[in-house]
Amino acid sequence: MERTVTVVPEDGLHARPASLFVETANEFDADVQLGRADEDDLVPAASMLAVTGLGVGHDESVRLVAEGDDAEAALDALEDILSTPEAKQ
């Protein structure tokens, strides 16, 4: 299954949101891949290096593709992270 999500955090998929995203992708029994919504290429969501390499900015859209027993739960959790503005201190 897959879904397209807009990246809300101000710095994009970078720093803490990216770290949280990758940690979360690793927690589920699912293989999750990620790519820019306007491109076909996908990279593993569980790899910080790969996610950093995508360089997705604020307000850009990404495509999440998940397979496995927890695919839907994984997508829900990852969408939640991408949709949450980063808390400013």
Binding site: A15, V22, V43, L49, T52, G53
Partner: protein, 154 residues
């Protein structure tokens, strides 16, 4: 400024083949001092604070034996990337627990917009390739390192 001009971003003096300190913070200071000694940092303390603040936010140990400490700071006036490598590897708090052997420090001016993210993502994409990592680990001269980096950001 063209951020893809490697001889401007990473002149040979920003490349070290010497062994850096074995701690994360020590290694970050080591990389920073390459840039300081090259006359590219106006305020060492401010640059160090910015780098460490970023590490506190989330580690730049991105796995695959790579650490990419980075910051936007007015302590530099042009995009600067320093390189060093560790034989034993350094604990960079990476999620895959692999010690960082390839170290890159990216500093860009605070007004540099998305320059630092552009450099960071170009570097990360290329480092996903094992052959690029191998070349950097095995390079015997600074020139070779610079040549590999030139291919990376082109």
């Amino acid at each position: 400024m063209d951020v893809t001009d490697i001889s401007t971003i990473t002149p040979l003096e920003l490349i070290s083949l010497e062994e850096p300190p074995a701690t994360k913070e020590g290694a970050i200071e080591f990389l920073l001092d390459l840039a300081v000694d090259a006359g590219r940092v106006d305020d060492r303390d401010a640059a160090l604070d910015a780098l460490l603040e970023r590490e506190e936010d989330a580690t730049t140990g991105v796995g695959f034996g790579i650490g990419i400490p980075h910051a936007k700071t007015d302590a530099v006036s042009k995009p600067t990337v320093a390189f060093a490598r560790s034989t034993e590897g350094i604990d960079f708090d990476a999620m895959d627990d692999k010690p960082a052997k390839l170290l890159f420090m990216i500093l860009v001016p605070a007004a540099g917009g998305e320059d630092h993210l552009q450099i960071l993502s170009a570097l990360s994409r290329s480092l996903m390739h094992e052959d690029v990592r191998e070349k950097l680990l095995e390079a015997e001269s600074k020139q070779t390192v610079q040549d590999v980096l030139a291919e990376v950001v082109e």
